[in-house]
């Protein structure tokens, strides 16, 4: 009846996962109870859970990502403390089978459920606003994408209490991940969680590519799009081109595990190196899927706070597209030691070095954007400058690793771990924080507290440098990655430095949380009344904060690269806003529960497949199909916002802009 699922799946003998899960469950029930007592369910259901508004979905994506980043950070703390307490005779507190699950979960959660949702969320929120349109191309599909990602995250976290997670690392290399070596449900949790979330990501990629290429305000040609839209286009084209490879690879692994196929097995002619090739043919573009949106964020932030247009806009576009193409030609550098031979290794080593040129172009463009600008240094700018300095170190160690002979020495060492954390932290994570502080006022109508933002910045930066600086040294001293116990006591000092660094990072994370609480409390002082808190240059700042559901009462006409900057200059020169437009009723897509219901059935399917409860899986498929039919059968796809409402909302916006304009007139520029 329940497949492989029995009471023994719950780890009663292991206190750590049980306590952690208990804590999470308690917190979850507290939140749900509070919502129920306060009667917030109807609001949440109508305005958020079933919402198809790209802004709401973007916010939910970012929220999911931040919660999962915290979860992955707890794993990181456990790994650092275990290694610091398991040197020589000491054994630490995590048994090997548990430690292996932790480093696997850390990588999986950080990439798939932390970094990806934050980046996709920011793109979702910002791109339609920057393009000057009212929503993405397929709003209900967008909601479905988000809920499928959440469903995957739920499955990964369920593995904490029901069964176990993979012990194979964040990419389940075959044949270790085959049933002969991983008979438990850990790899199955991984496979189904990633497949379900991956479908969501793929649909989100299709949606954003179509949005950027087909839904733009009148006059916004390709070379007038803000840089963030360009990098979002690059990242989403990569999603469309790379994620199917992941789906195919994991489908083959699933067939191996469930039906005894021989794609990657040791026996019957299976080819385990094919797994490594396929997974990295997705995995390397994935790196750029994460970093390209961050590059876009840095471009917007640096240009805004330098009060200058972006330097070398066209070369930036070219560099982005160059990276998109070349990212598909470097995957083999993840396994130079496979034995493909000198020629092949040389070709991939050279390609890897060449891809750094694209990033180099961007670095110079950012530097020249700052050069001669009127610089301001609020929190988003600090994250961007720290990125510029630390990312170069990560990039250079990357080019070092691209040299095959050097890679043979450093392969699988802590040096490698330090390298990719260096680039992902200073690129993606700093980018995410820069983007979140930058666009937070647009989403919520008030700015984040600057003092705690800067505290968080300095502590995170310091902790990050200490942790990974020490890891570089450990790697050069020959320490390999993923060690549950350290026999070699000479490494101890650097491991202690590293664990000290994570202590500083904990303070940084705490500052972030304090920042959010303080900002909510002081929201009236931090209120953004104009909709343009940073003196921005692109169209998202032309809307009020937070923007109305329809974003723009009338689609803006675009005449140049920095449309909102032009509008502001014109208003200042003529000392007046343009004439009030003729307001018309606006049709907006109707809210739909399709996304959340589909994700509910997807979770059922995933859980049932993991535990081999076949009837439940069948039920899930029937439910998903029924949901699809109900959605397809609906007659009314849109709701109407009346011309009066549109006029009322826009007149409030115009009044605040007029106040801004009057204030500008009083103080001579």
């Amino acid at each position: 009846m329940l497949g492989k699922l029995t009471w023994s799946a719950i780890p009663f003998s292991q206190p750590i996962p049980l306590l952690a899960a208990g804590g999470v469950a308690l917190a979850l029930f507290a939140v749900l109870g509070w919502i129920t007592v306060k009667g917030h369910w109807p609001y949440l259901w109508k305005e958020w859970i079933t919402s198809v508004d790209h802004k709401r979905i973007g916010v939910m994506y970012v929220l999911l990502g931040l919660v999962m980043l915290l979860r992955g950070f707890v794993d990181a703390i456990m790994m650092r403390t275990q290694q610091a307490t398991a040197i020589g005779h000491a054994q630490g507190y995590l048994p090997p089978e548990h430690y292996d699950q932790i480093f696997s979960a850390h990588g999986t959660i950080m990439i798939f459920f932390g970094a990806m949702p934050v980046m996709i969320g920011l793109m979702n929120f910002v791109v339609p606003l920057q393009l000057g349109v009212r929503d993405v191309a397929f709003p209900t599909l967008n909601s479905t994408s988000f809920w499928l990602t959440a469903s995957g995250a739920l499955l990964v976290n369920m593995s904490l209490v029901i069964g176990e997670f993979a012990r194979t690392g964040w990419l389940p290399y075959a044949p270790l991940s085959e049933t002969s070596y991983s008979p438990g449900v850990g790899v199955d949790y991984y496979v189904w969680a990633i497949q379900i979330a991956g479908v969501g990501t793929l649909m989100s990629g299709i949606n954003l590519v179509t949005t950027i290429l087909k839904q733009r305000a009148p006059g916004m040609g390709y070379l007038r799009m803000p840089m963030f839209c360009w990098t979002a286009l690059g990242a989403n084209m990569l999603i469309v081109a790379a994620f199917p490879i992941l789906t195919a690879t994991l489908a083959m692994l699933t067939l191996d595990r469930y039906l005894g196929f021989h794609f990657f097995t040791n026996e019957a002619g299976g080819n385990m190196m094919m797994f490594v090739n396929l997974i990295w043919a997705w995995g390397h573009p994935e790196v750029y899927i994460l970093i390209l949106p961050a590059f876009g964020i840095f471009s917007e932030v640096i240009s805004t706070f330098s009060s200058k247009p972006l330097f070398g806009y066209r070369s930036m576009v070219a560099a982005t597209l160059f990276i998109v193409v070349v990212s598909f030609t470097v995957w083999l550098h993840h396994f130079f030691t496979m034995g493909a031979g000198g020629d092949v290794n040389a070709a991939f080593g050279i390609a890897t070095s060449i891809i750094a040129v694209g990033t180099g172009v961007k670095i110079y463009n950012w530097l020249f954007t700052m050069y001669g600008g009127r610089l301001r240094f609020p929190t988003p700018m600090l994250w961007s400058i720290a990125f510029l300095m630390t990312f170069i170190i990560g990039g250079m160690t990357g080019v070092l690793l691209a040299v095959p002979p050097a890679d043979f020495m450093l392969h699988n060492s802590m040096f490698l771990v330090a390298h990719f954390h260096n680039v992902i932290n200073s690129g993606v994570i700093f980018g995410a924080f820069a983007g979140i502080t930058f666009w937070f006022p647009k989403a919520f109508g008030f700015r984040l507290d600057e003092f705690w933002g800067k505290m968080a910045f300095w502590l995170t930066l310091a902790g990050f440098l200490i942790v990974f600086g020490a890891m570089y040294v450990l790697g050069l001293e020959g320490m390999t990655r993923r060690l549950q116990h350290i026999d070699f006591t000479e490494w101890a000092p650097w491991l202690y430095v590293s664990v000290g660094g994570i202590g500083v990072m904990i303070l940084g994370v705490a500052s972030q949380l304090i920042q959010i609480v303080i900002s909510i409390r002081h929201r009236e002082q931090l209120r953004d009344t104009t909709g343009d808190p940073w003196d921005g240059r692109s169209l998202e700042w032309a809307t009020p904060s937070p923007p109305p559901a329809f974003n723009f009462p009338v689609l803006p006409r675009v005449h140049g690269e920095e449309p909102y900057w032009t509008i502001k200059r014109k208003a200042l020169e003529s000392q007046g806003l343009g004439d009030e437009p003729d307001y018309e009723a606006i049709e907006m897509p109707r809210a739909s529960a399709t996304g959340v219901v589909t994700a509910f059935f997807a979770t059922l399917i995933g859980f049932a497949m993991i535990w081999m409860i076949w009837w439940l899986a069948a039920l899930g498929f029937v439910g998903a199909y029924a949901t699809f039919v109900v959605f397809a059968w609906r007659d009314e796809e849109e709701t109407r916002i009346s011309a009066e409402d549109v006029a009322r909302i826009d007149r409030a916006r115009r009044a605040s802009r007029q106040a801004w304009l009057d204030a500008q007139g009083e103080q001579p520029a």
Binding site: P218, T249, L259, L555, V629
Partner: protein, 217 residues
């Protein structure tokens, strides 16, 4: 006929003035719903082709790994594959006819075309399943060797697409029956046409790589 009627979506042209239906390329503002839906579906199809290419690559790598078991020459009969191919290509033709009939708002012919498409698709799927059953009966199932794993993976993935397509087709015929030619149903019909043709193209690849090259001397 006006220029607009000859080329309603202004394919390959930039611009388009205010108020008229545009392609979303620059000047004219957001594209029409029909253009957007078709375009998005094309992007999906590209991603689907990449999914197939993963399985094609696996087949190319594993094709010679028969592990002492039967190879392509021992297993593939040309007659059945010829009938399968004929049925699938013909179904694409009838699918196209259904699309033309829908453009002319002829419900009878549209439904007839879709029905023929579905029946030909079912013939294809039935033949494929009988081939699979025979092979498994002979002890040449996917567990036998890596070659057979790759074969069942690739051909099975295509079969799965056809199966899902038939489910979609049936749902859409029922919807057409109840609701008639509504704009969103016409858009879905266009997407289905694209989907079905894409599966045809993939099948041509499978036919060449698996069934022809497999038995070539």
């Amino acid at each position: 006929m006006t220029a607009q009627a000859q080329d309603p979506y202004r394919i390959g042209r930039s611009g388009g003035g205010e108020g008229e239906e545009t392609t979303g390329r620059g000047e004219g503002g957001p594209a029409s719903k029909r253009t957007t839906v078709g375009y998005g579906f094309w992007i999906y199809l590209l991603s689907d082709i990449i999914l197939f290419s993963g399985f094609f690559a696996a087949y190319a790598v594993l094709a010679k790994q028969t592990a002492g078991g039967p190879g392509p020459r021992d297993l593939f009969g040309q007659e059945r594959v010829a009938i399968e191919t004929a049925a699938l290509l013909l179904s694409s033709f009838t699918c196209g006819l259904a699309g033309v009939a829908a453009e002319r708002r002829n419900l009878l012919w549209a439904q007839a075309g879709l029905l023929a498409t579905g029946m030909l698709g079912a013939v294809f799927l039935g033949l494929e399943l009988s081939e699979f059953a025979e092979m498994i009966g002979k002890g040449a199932g996917p567990q036998r060797s890596a070659f057979l794993s790759a074969f069942f993976g690739l051909v099975g993935l295509h079969g799965l697409h056809i199966g899902v397509g038939l489910l979609w087709l049936g749902t859409m015929m029922a919807q057409l029956w109840v609701k008639g030619f509504q704009p969103q149903i016409l858009r879905r019909l266009m997407c289905f046409n694209l989907f079905w043709h894409a599966l045809d193209i993939v099948w041509v690849g499978i036919f060449t790589m698996v069934y022809l090259m497999g038995v070539a001397p």
